[in-house]
């Protein structure tokens, strides 16, 4: 089994494979790095930043950005509006204006308000997309799972792509029983399945005594208040796992099991 670890997408990435073509891991590492450059809102020249800078106009978008924007709309639909890529205004208002390794900036919480429904903010047609004026997109809630699925489909027949804990396991794994992946206190054997974890303890800080974190509840426009610390989910794809983990976290411990029973293959609530 071959593997490589590196930092990209603002997080730790881990790629593994069995019987990969020579040089495939290096190619995959470069693939992830290039997606960071193209889809990070913190990179001024990124395709996403340019799209956010052109509200009101139909903008030509690459097939991958189109795929991510469509995935954002699908995530909104699947989660009943809880996973909302249009919360960029709230992100900026709470001070998450740059990578958190540089520290948050002073918040302006009056600007943290519930966004309109995503389908009213974002339109996607073949090869182009349009953003409502005053809106902005943050792909942080959907991109890692979606990219893990996309890379696993290209990397090899027996591989695992883990982008900051959001992952897709393809093929039979190192011993033929599936890829052994730790989730909570157990090890699961995943084969052609995705997994993701969402929580509110990382990317969190305090401002004037008020706890703030990156997971925005679109119902309030503010950082989510939930009685769950984290939720891990296994689903058919990494993208679906990421969406349902976030939705369950926002729903809280009482309602999360109902949602997950309908949408997930396995889950861990803590």
């Amino acid at each position: 089994m071959d593997e490589v670890r590196f930092e990209a997408l603002g997080t730790a990435c881990h790629l593994l494979g069995v019987g990969l073509e020579r040089g495939r891991l290096a190619w995959a590492t470069a693939w992830v790095a290039s997606r960071h450059e193209r889809f990070s809102r913190f990179e001024p020249a990124s395709e996403l930043a340019r799209f956010n800078a052109s509200p009101g106009d139909w903008v030509k978008v690459s097939p991958e950005l189109e795929g991510l924007l469509r995935a954002s709309l699908e995530a909104y639909r699947l989660s009943g509006g809880l996973v909302h890529a249009g919360v960029l205004g709230s992100m900026l208002a709470i001070g998450y204006t740059r990578p958190l390794r540089l520290g948050p900036t002073p918040p302006a919480l009056a600007g943290a308000v519930p966004p309109p429904p995503l389908p009213e903010m974002l339109e996607v047609a073949g090869g182009r997309a349009r953003l409502r004026p005053g809106s902005g997109i943050d792909l942080g809630g959907v991109a890692k799972g979606w990219l893990a699925d996309a890379l696993a489909a290209r990397m090899g027949d027996n591989c695992l792509v883990n982008l900051g804990g959001d992952l897709f396991a393809r093929g039979p794994g190192p011993d033929g029983d599936g890829w052994p992946v730790a989730m909570g206190e157990v090890t699961l054997l995943l084969r052609d399945q995705g997994a993701a974890t969402s929580g509110v303890r990382r990317r969190a800080w305090r401002q004037d005594g008020e706890p703030l974190h990156h997971l925005i509840d679109p119902r309030t426009g503010r950082p989510a208040v939930t009685d769950l610390a984290k939720v891990s989910v296994v689903a058919a794809t990494g993208a679906a796992a990421e969406v349902h983990a976030k939705a369950a976290l926002l729903l809280g411990s009482e309602r999360a099991p109902v949602h997950l029973t309908a949408h997930a293959l396995a889950w861990w609530l803590a």
Binding site: D177, P180, V181, T197, S198, R201, R202, T261, A264, W268
Partner: protein, 75 residues
């Protein structure tokens, strides 16, 4: 002649009933997204409480006593 008329009437009646049934059925289409009854989604699910967390596994996901190669985690 009379038997021919009886046969024609029977045929017309059969066709009429078939058309009426088709109209009735197409006007009462089952809602395809409606959930199955009785519910089957949670069937075979394994649930447990471990170290303060709650775990649920459907039959399509297996746990194993092997060393994990990676993990899903909050980032």
């Amino acid at each position: 002649m009379r038997s021919l008329m009886v046969r024609a009437a029977a045929t017309l009646m059969t066709l009429g009933v078939a058309v009426a049934a088709a109209v009735h059925v197409s006007g009462h289409v089952k809602d395809s997204p409606a959930p199955l009854r009785p519910g089957v989604v949670g069937g075979g699910q394994v649930a447990a409480t471990i170290s303060g967390g709650r775990l649920s596994l459907s039959p399509s996901v297996r746990s194993g006593r092997v060393q994990s190669v990676t993990s899903t985690y909050e980032s």
